[in-house]
Symmetry: C2
Subunit: 226 residues, 2 copies
């Protein structure tokens, strides 16, 4: 499948690399491709420059948000939550309408110090904000409840015996995303319901962050025991 992954950080790179390895035709979308490839310093998270990463992932293309979305059948939002709506505006409704948009971002708000809080939260969610801003897009919220490495290699923790959630208004889109998740190794995909249920999965982040601290590793995931 032709897939655009919007976002050049850890999450975007990890997902893009894994999907390319599985034979998908992957393009990473960024605000300004020229400035992205021109960077020679590690980013704020300590990731090596994108050009260095791309040298090891020659099958992954780089394009503007708009060009990446335009040439793809399915779009993955892997931008930081605070910048997601702006990135999707740059991608453009015309390039997104009718497509599945897999939203794997979290609306983390670092403005009040650490640990970050969520904004929006409780009575709204990033997934819903995106769906409202792009009513003709089939938004499916998923994968936002785990570390990037686990997103693409669930078997690396507890032999993959844990859960991933999908939220969205379009049943066919959720079925397609569930199939994609299965191809990545996810065996327990739980359909929470419509896009308003993204509030639930996004609100896992605060305990996820505390568990990271308590366990000393991000190599864990939620399993719904039943």
């Amino acid at each position: 499948m032709k897939i655009a992954v919007l976002g050049t950080g850890t999450v975007g790179r990890t997902v893009a690399g894994a999907l390319a390895e599985r034979g998908h035709d992957v393009v990473v979308g960024t605000r300004d491709p020229e400035s992205t490839v021109a960077r020679t310093e590690a980013d704020g998270m300590g990731n090596p420059p994108f050009a260095q990463w791309q040298a090891g992932h020659a099958a992954v293309a780089l394009a503007s948000y708009a060009d990446a979305a335009a040439q793809s059948e399915l779009v993955i939002n892997a931008t930081s939550g605070a910048g997601s709506l702006a990135a999707l505006e740059a991608a453009g409704a015309a390039n997104l309408d009718g497509k599945i948009l897999v939203d794997i971002a979290n609306p983390l708000d670092f403005s009040q110090g650490m640990p970050p809080s969520l904004n929006p939260v409780n009575s709204d969610s990033l997934g819903e904000q995106i769906q409202r801003a792009f009513p003709a897009v089939k938004v499916v919220k998923t994968l936002n409840t785990m570390n990037a490495h686990l997103m693409v290699d669930p078997g690396s923790v507890a032999d993959g015996d844990h859960s991933v959630f999908v939220s969205g208004n379009d049943a066919d889109a959720k079925r397609a995303v569930t199939e994609l998740l299965g191809s990545l190794g996810h065996t327990d995909v739980i359909d929470l319901g419509d896009i308003t249920t993204a509030r639930g999965s996004e609100m896992l982040l605060p305990i996820w962050l505390r568990l990271w601290g308590a366990l000393g590793t991000p190599a864990f995931n939620f399993k719904i025991a039943r």
Copy 2:
């Protein structure tokens, strides 16, 4: 141990009954014991009148919030979240100070319709509100992330292979509560950190409520796979 369970609803009854069965000296606290025993109708949740429940649990006493707290070494807040601070005010700081207060309530807000939202949320929690209101009490947040039946019979789901969280500022209090949880059958007790981490466990409620809908049963729990 002498234990007060504040709250006469499903959660209070379930926890009080289970602790009495394990040999603890249990008193249920209520706002007005006379009116509680005088009720002959099922409550809003369909629970039989308290007197009918108590007839089958003769070892469990009933007292006012203040009397229940005064005569106990450990107090469990099993009131509804919206009424917890008022109930604890009625119990009285003098009857609570220096004791462990196990807060198993959730600040569910039904005022905006269903599903309920949380209030407070994100940058505060009920656990923290209680700790601030009663600074000399050792508040430990726990058990609020599962159905009442599972609280006292964790083995009834997935052979007990799931997790429970503790949050609190006092390490000794968390150790004592962890021991109590173990006596109920909980095998994976995760210490999230200080009482501010109660934000994380309380914010599990929205996805818990959606999972209840999606799975069609409250007989499930979060396990932290690692």
